[in-house]
């Protein structure tokens, strides 16, 4: 059985992370994703991070399962060829700056004119209009404006801190993935195609809000400690753990595991609502005891008392974690040029329409000839196009 999106074809003009991470997920589900790049260096993300064979590692992971076409959109005749491609696809996705695609004649209306039920997805940083819409955007800019760095601020000093991975690009990508899937379903049910817009700022805020902005949700209510004050990182004799106690039974379990019976009986800590404003002081009692124990000892004690707890994996621990190994989560892909590449398999396990990783990322324009032949471009036409410089 093939993936859920078997037979769906996507023309992907996006670069960096917000688009490619999304089309990577759809490719896992079986979609035929055609990555269209400018001839030459192509997607900027090709060169960001550790490189091998001219390709950076994050690029190779995010652009798995895609085929590459190089097309110089400014060359004469390129637009016609682009529209021939559009006629054969279900989705066009782009993350140029607002207005660019319309200006060069490749916007939603242009594509709809050749493919009536096209699903056209536009990803932007801040939106198509508004005070910041023309700004250059990378992930940290959206982390700053969208509140991630403020929420991540050190509770003791108030100093903003970044989330140390590309969280806003990837959240926008997850959101865009949902937009594409839902639009495909609606089209299947007779709704036709449409223009779907996702901005990184909106997606980031919608993602962040529920727990992180809980003190600003009910207008006029007195503030409580943030939900993140439940989070604990504690040093043990030989490493670090995290633990959390929310329900009464977890609180009682924590007191048993750490031999703190006086806390368990103290009426000021009875019930989750009364405990909430006092979580910091309660956690500090626990952290003092944990510092005197080994990681293995404390993890075993908490497990026995049914208190959620875990050893904190550093980057190099991940590939050796017993549960990650058990889940067969990290696949190794042997590429003739790149050598061995490892990354997680698709996270969603479909019993009927399994997702799969079928290839790593293409080089710029690696499949140009193959794809153009598929859409009916003859060998002669191809030669003419080449001589006109369409492919760089």
């Amino acid at each position: 059985m093939s993936g859920a999106l078997h037979g769906v074809r996507i023309l992907d003009l996006t670069i960096n992370v917000s688009g490619p991470f999304a089309t990577g997920i759809l490719g896992d589900m079986g979609a035929d994703v055609i990555k269209l790049e400018q001839p030459g260096p192509g997607d900027l993300a090709r060169r960001y991070g550790p490189m091998r064979d001219g390709m950076a590692a994050p690029f190779v992971v995010m652009n798995r399962n895609k085929r590459g076409v190089a097309l110089d959109l400014n060359a004469p005749g390129a637009k016609e060829l682009f529209m021939r491609l559009v006629k054969t696809v279900d989705i066009v996705i782009q993350n140029f700056r607002p207005g660019v695609m319309d200006r060069i004649g490749l916007g939603y209306e242009h594509c709809r004119a050749v493919k009536d039920d096209i699903i056209y997805v536009s990803l932007s940083g801040f939106g198509e209009t508004g005070p910041l819409s023309a700004d250059r955007v990378y992930d940290p800019v959206i982390q700053a404006v969208g509140g991630f760095m403020g929420v991540q601020a050190d509770p003791a000093t108030g100093m903003p801190q970044p989330v140390r991975h590309i969280v806003c690009d990837k959240t926008a990508a997850m959101t865009a993935t949902q937009g594409m899937l839902a639009a495909l379903f609606a089209r299947e049910r007779g709704q036709g195609g449409q223009h779907v817009k996702v901005t990184m700022l909106d997606a980031g805020l919608a993602y962040l809000w529920s727990d992180a902005m809980s003190n600003h949700t009910y207008v006029g209510a007195p503030h409580l400690p943030e939900i993140s004050s439940l989070l604990n990182v504690a040093k043990t004799l030989d490493g670090f753990i995290t633990f959390i106690f929310v329900s009464d039974s977890e609180f009682q379990g924590m007191c048993r595991a750490l031999d703190l019976p006086h806390l368990a009986k103290d009426p000021q800590y009875a019930g989750p609502v009364d405990r909430m404003p006092k979580m910091r002081e309660l956690s500090n009692f626990a952290i003092e005891v944990i510092a005197t124990l080994t990681t293995a000892d404390i993890v075993a004690r908490f497990a026995k008392a049914e208190v959620p707890c875990a050893r904190i994996n550093l980057r190099e621990d991940l590939v050796n974690d017993p549960q990650i190994i058990h889940n067969k989560l990290i696949i190794e892909f042997d590429d003739p040029k790149l050598g061995k590449v490892r990354f997680p398999r698709p996270a969603i396990e479909f019993s009927g329409t399994p997702s799969s990783v079928r290839s790593v990322a293409p080089h710029v324009g690696q499949h140009t000839d193959e794809i153009l032949r598929e859409i009916g471009v003859s060998a002669d036409e191809l030669a003419t196009m080449k001589s006109k410089g369409l492919f760089g």
Partner: protein, 392 residues
Amino acid sequence: MHGCLHGVRIVDMTANVSGPFGTAMLGDMGADVIKIEAPGNGDISRRYGMMRGGMAAAFAVINRNKRGAALDLQSAAGKEAFLKLVASADVVTQNFRPGVVDRLGVGYEACKAVKKDIIYISISGFGDSGPHANDSVYDPVIQAVSGYMGVQTEPGTDKPMPIRTIVCDKIASMSLTQGVLGALFARERFGMGQHVRISMLDASLAFLWPDAMSNHTYMGETPRMPEMGIYHLPASKDGFFVGFVVTDEQFQGLCRAIERPDVANDPRFVETVSRQKNQKALNVIFTAEVAKYTTAEIVARFQREKVPAAKINNRVDLLTDPQIAHNGMIIETEHPDAGPMRTPRPPIIFGETPSSIRRHAPQVGAHTEEVLAEVGYSSGEIAALKAKGAFG
């Protein structure tokens, strides 16, 4: 105009965040989401964090667009009513601990028996089996095991740090949304339902990996690069600021913005790859220069030079940020029990099938009789179910 999922019914047994956050997004798209809870206290997250009108703020945001049905799945009558609801539904979601739904008789096979093409989604913390499968799980436990806390380690120290939002629950939830949508599309095309399984661990690692694990992707000898998410947040005269360059043009713009033409020609920084390697040295220069300006001044300087940059918004700033306001991202509404509240609007803008917020989060079982009447129970039959303890 209807949302993409108009006419789709979801019977949602999930609690906390990993499921409900995802089914809310499906509700935004027009699905009829029926939240099944145990009679009495219901979902534990009803009582977590800021409360008003008997409902926590985060719960009110995450459970928008749902109807509530209280059913005691341990009673025969409750189970009978549940399966009758399933027979009218397209999707069932659950995030009990592994094995519980089968023990209760509401697992995939039981649901398939009453609705042949049902799409059944299971979310677990660690997976259905393996060393941690039966552990108690909250977000920080998955943050610890899947590497988020390790990746967040403060540079220059060895101390892991938490992400201060419920990141792993919410990522798993976005994967649930994608799993439901992918399976709905496949059912429309290929005609079959299926069991879709997602673990928080798998979803979290797949999300984190591409950029954060870039030094661990190419196996064998590959020169390491500085980690990608080490965003530098220098202090201005009156606050904090983030600026970020990737391309050579942006780097030249940065040097003009801080009036350091000497740095523009420094061979350590002139090109993308060498700049990544010498990021620390560049940050030192950058920090000293940024301290000379107010945040407004330095942001304006960067914008003039077309370099990505922004002021860092704290929680309160989000409520008045001009671009967020322009985008209409924050909706003010009135919950019948909790009073005036703010919530983000659905972030995906569909041109033809708009998403919307149509309902407030329900109290436990607020719509039990209504939904049972819809699936064909007479008022006499509902009274009989009640007498048999179906509703607690």
